[in-house]
């Protein structure tokens, strides 16, 4: 079945995965809208769902909701549930109203939710119909961010996957970077690669519809995030070639990621070193400063974003931490394999969740740091454990060299705070 010779033994890649089924304490894929809409500046995300979905977006977006965001929820009402024909008419009307109010919108995503999936509202057909109605000005696409199908960051994967079939075809040899990163980070990546003479470089998602990249048999692509499994598969189906590498977290991750692309484009060692030497040194120094409090400490990851494996690799290899358990909502070995290879066997690798049982393991292990969601963080703090809430790792710029120190800082801050607070007297 497996081919043990091609896999170096003794790493996390061959650790048997603990698969759990039970209550999951995770966001659904709708949450991805919160960062995607900022990245795609002429797109609107219209969730077809219930009041729960609208409330989720509002709760997860926090204060961002007050900035007149380019997303909203078409809340299903009783009458929509009664007759599907009505639902489609209603949807057409709401979209019409929305687009006439927001003429700046060029790309509209109809985002499926649990309720719309359960009543089998055919949003794919609606998207086709609406594309015809509003062509050529607006393109309407559809994907599902429902909790029954997607977990948190998988929403971005589903969104990008929905864009792949409509990417124009090209025969050019181009590098495509896949994943929505804050602009400042994306610019750094593009700059490093360009300095090595690599190009042209395109990004998916593009900031504007007009800049949508093409794809074809000469396209090579690298993922910026570990949760883009379906997008990678869809691009591969369109003939593009996937460059596998550890993810660009920390100095080592960034270097290996760049190296893999540089190899693909035939960049020589001297050029590579010339471009990366200075930022590598900066990153190493910044990590050393920020990770002082992490050295020798243990960390436990609850499943959340699929960033857990690359982040655990960074924390164990570059910050001197020891991982106890690395929980993932979903493991895509095709993407995180290179990261798993870098970690010696030892930590429990778990996929899925039974939250109460997992919390029992956290309590038994008493880790120095637990990475978890906002629903669990304060309760665990109250039990005396130190936590780092995970959602921040998705919103904050943490990739590549210049952010490596900040990334370590996100984990060390709670540990440092625990050390500075002298509250025992007050409690």
């Amino acid at each position: 079945m497996n081919t043990p010779k091609s896999i170096p033994s003794g790493t996390c890649r061959d650790t048997p995965v603990l698969k759990e089924r039970g209550q999951r304490e995770v966001f659904c894929g709708l949450t991805g809208i919160i960062w995607l809409h900022r990245k795609m500046q002429d797109a609107f995300f219209l969730v077809i769902g219930s009041r729960t979905c609208a409330h989720l977006l509002q709760s997860a977006a926090g204060v961002m909701i007050f900035a007149e965001p380019r997303f909203g929820t078409a809340i299903l009402e009783e009458t929509d549930l009664a007759g599907m024909a009505d639902a489609h008419e209603e949807l057409d009307r709401e979209v019409e109203r929305l687009l006439s109010r927001r003429p700046d919108i060029k790309q509209l995503f109809l985002v499926g939710s649990c309720p719309s999936e359960v009543i089998k509202l055919d949003l794919a057909r609606a998207a086709e119909r609406l594309t015809q109605v509003h062509a050529p000005h607006v393109r309407v696409l559809n994907y599902s961010g429902s909790g029954i199908e997607t977990t948190f960051t998988q929403g971005e994967d589903a969104c990008l996957t929905s864009m792949v079939p409509v990417l124009p075809t090209t025969d050019q040899k181009e590098l495509m970077l896949v994943g929505a990163l804050p602009d400042v980070v994306e610019d750094q990546a593009v700059s490093l690669l360009s300095q090595m003479g690599i190009g042209p470089i395109r990004v998916l998602p593009a900031p504007r519809t007009a800049e949508t990249p093409g794809v074809g048999p000469n396209t090579v692509f690298a993922c910026l995030q570990p949760f883009l499994g379906d997008t990678a598969a869809a691009l591969t189906r369109r003939g593009a070639h996937h460059i596998q590498a550890p993810f660009p977290f920390g100095e080592e991750g960034t270097t290996l990621w760049l190296r893999a692309i540089a190899d693909e484009f035939g960049v020589d060692d001297d050029t590579f070193d010339r471009v990366t030497a200075a930022p590598r040194a900066r990153a190493r120094k910044a990590i050393a400063n920020a990770s002082e409090h992490l050295n020798g400490k243990s960390v436990f990851f609850m499943p959340d974003s699929q960033l857990e494996i690359p982040l655990a690799r960074f924390l164990t290899r570059e910050c001197g931490m020891e991982a106890i358990e690395i929980g993932q909502p979903f493991i895509h070995k095709g993407l995180v394999g290179p990261d798993l290879d870098l970690m010696p066997a030892g930590p429990t690798i778990s996929e899925g969740q039974d939250v109460d049982k997992q919390l029992d393991r956290v309590r038994a292990a008493q880790p120095d740091l637990t990475v978890c969601g906002l629903g669990l963080a304060n309760p665990l703090e109250a039990e005396g454990l130190t936590t780092k809430w995970a959602i921040e790792l998705v919103f904050t710029p943490v990739h590549f060299y210049e952010q490596a120190g900040d990334l370590a800082g996100l984990f060390s801050r709670p540990v440092r705070r625990r050390a500075v607070l002298k509250l025992e007297a007050a409690e």
Binding site: C28, Q58, I65, E149, L374, L376, P379
Partner: protein, 519 residues
């Protein structure tokens, strides 16, 4: 279908969670997809609870749908009982589970759970959060409370406070204080901190104090029917309302309406000359019906404000809000669409808004000071310090809270009067609490956002400032007008000029317009 960005209320199962989380020894088993657990963070983050809400979700996934979601529900329910050993369980469905029709109540009934299992029917596609809390508490009371002998001493129940309630924690203390002064004991407070066992003792009280009709009116009515307990109709928010409340309770319980006013400072603060400038301040009120009703009376009778508009987002109370609006001779706004609220506020051009978190942001956008009087609220409105709204201390708190942004408003006014002085340029901003202050300069810096929002319909070019030319004299004069009426003055002047067929606005046009609108 209705396009929504902000929602004042969550779905009804969130209301049920608020009851469950408020109580102890009760567990909620919720049939819901993975993802609906997001609601936990409202309690752990916004209210900063140090425990997970006592809610177990089935978190079914897509691949479970064709198969046995009912089976998943039963296993989850059993495991939740075994792990938490609650005194009672409530079971129900979220919006998605409502569609797959598993009937959690019926399923739980077939199981051998040795404690009361209370099924909830919460129609997610018709009703909202407040209905959910009221209905849940009603169902719990209905299944657990029984008529019984009254306590020998005079006691009441305090009902309505729950988790994620705006100042519920401290209001309870204040109401207890009022009762204590009259020598009335407290039998049970519920749902806040009550156990299911406590609920079974509700019948022993002589009457019920209904703190928040939104959350416990159905339960109060039920108790009146089956236990013969009268309940209070007055909400003790504001000085006059608190006096009325004390009188009402004294009468219901047959005791002396004794009160200790030694800590009440609000009336003197409001009478003192420093408060004269509050007279006739134009305020707009929006929030849940209970807090809006109380705030309207305080605003008019205890602060000397002029109420220029009011409304609520919970339709269940539309009738009483309409009555109130008639009393105040203003239009009633019953809506859960924040765009309508924003429109109404713009039209009324108040000098201050009393509202929810949403209105705070509307106020920011329009440059109008705002104080928060009602849920939904953010983390800063679950303060560490004692901050009730009810009773005597509540009146003190309300006075400070409401005038705080106005003091800043006054300061802002002074800033614009002395704008030519070098220390008072437009960017200076008020000297304290930057976060709450209106920032007129922000509009200038991000015009795209503001325009995008404020002008969904770019027609009506005759009032747009792009066709109107403001001569520099007039423009200068306009800037001297206090910021909170400047927008209105600009609109009025432009409309006046357009009506006169003028293309340019001079200093004279400005004053003619002013005279024209000053009736």
């Amino acid at each position: 279908m209705k396009l929504t960005v902000w929602t004042y209320e969550g779905p009804p199962h969130v209301g049920a969670m608020r009851v469950a989380t408020a109580m102890k020894g009760l567990h909620y088993v919720l049939h819901a997809p993975q993802g609906d657990t997001y609601a936990d963070l409202l309690f752990t983050m916004i209210e900063r609870r140090d425990h997970r809400p006592p809610v177990t979700y089935t978190t079914f996934e897509g691949r479970d749908l064709g198969e046995d979601t009912a089976g998943i529900f039963k296993v989850t329910c059993q495991e939740a009982y075994d792990r938490f050993k609650p005194q009672a369980i409530i079971v129900g469905a979220s919006c998605t589970a409502e569609l797959i029709q598993d009937d959690p109540g019926g399923l739980a009934e077939t199981m051998q759970i040795p404690v009361p299992v209370i099924p909830l029917e919460l129609p997610s596609y018709q009703r909202k959060e407040n209905f959910g809390s009221d209905e849940t508490f009603y169902q719990i009371v209905k299944s657990l409370a029984r008529p019984m002998d009254r306590t020998p001493e005079v006691t009441v129940n305090i009902i309505g406070p729950l988790a994620l309630g705006f100042r519920h924690r401290d209001d309870i203390e204040e109401v207890k204080g009022l009762l204590y002064e009259m020598g009335i004991g407290v039998n049970v407070v519920a749902p806040f901190d009550a156990t299911p066992e406590d609920i079974t003792r509700l019948g022993a009280a002589h009457a019920n104090v209904l703190m928040y009709p939104e959350h416990a009116e159905s339960a109060a009515r039920h108790l009146e029917r089956i236990c013969g307990q009268p309940y209070t109709k007055t909400i003790p928010i504001g000085v006059a309302a608190t006096h009325e409340f004390v009188a009402e309770v004294a009468q219901l319980c047959g005791v002396e309406p004794r009160k200790d006013l030694s800590r009440l400072r609000q009336p003197w603060w409001s009478k003192s000359v420093d408060s004269t400038y509050l007279t006739g301040k134009r305020v707009f009120l929006f929030g849940d019906a209970t807090h809006v009703k109380a705030a309207a009376r305080i605003a008019r009778d205890e602060m000397g404000f002029e109420v220029v508009g009011l409304g609520c987002y919970n339709r269940e109370f539309a009738r009483s809000i309409r009555e109130l609006a008639r009393e105040f001779d203003v239009p009633a706004l019953i809506t859960d669409d924040y765009l309508e609220v924003e429109k109404a506020i713009e039209d009324a051009s108040p000098e201050m808004i009393l509202g929810t978190q949403m209105e705070r942001h509307i106020g920011k956008r329009l440059g109008i000071p705002c104080a928060v009087i009602s849920a939904p609220v953010h983390v800063q409105d679950f303060p560490a310090r004692y901050s009730p709204q009810m009773g005597w201390e509540g009146a003190n708190v309300i006075f400070d809270t409401w005038i705080h942004p106005l003091v800043m408003g006054l300061e802002e006014h002074l800033l614009s009067m002395f704008r030519e002085d070098f220390e008072f340029h437009d960017e200076a901003g008020p000297s304290h609490h930057g976060g709450h202050s209106p920032k007129p300069s922000e509009a200038a810096r991000t015009p795209d956002k503001v325009e995008e929002r404020a002008d969904p319909a770019p027609e009506a070019p005759q009032t747009g400032s792009d066709v109107m030319v403001w001569l520099s004299e007039a423009e200068k004069e306009l800037k001297k007008i206090p910021f909170f009426v400047r927008g209105k003055a600009r609109r009025n002047t432009e409309k006046f000029a357009a009506d006169q067929g003028l293309q340019e606005i001079s200093l004279d046009t400005l004053y003619e317009a002013k005279a024209h609108y000053a009736r």
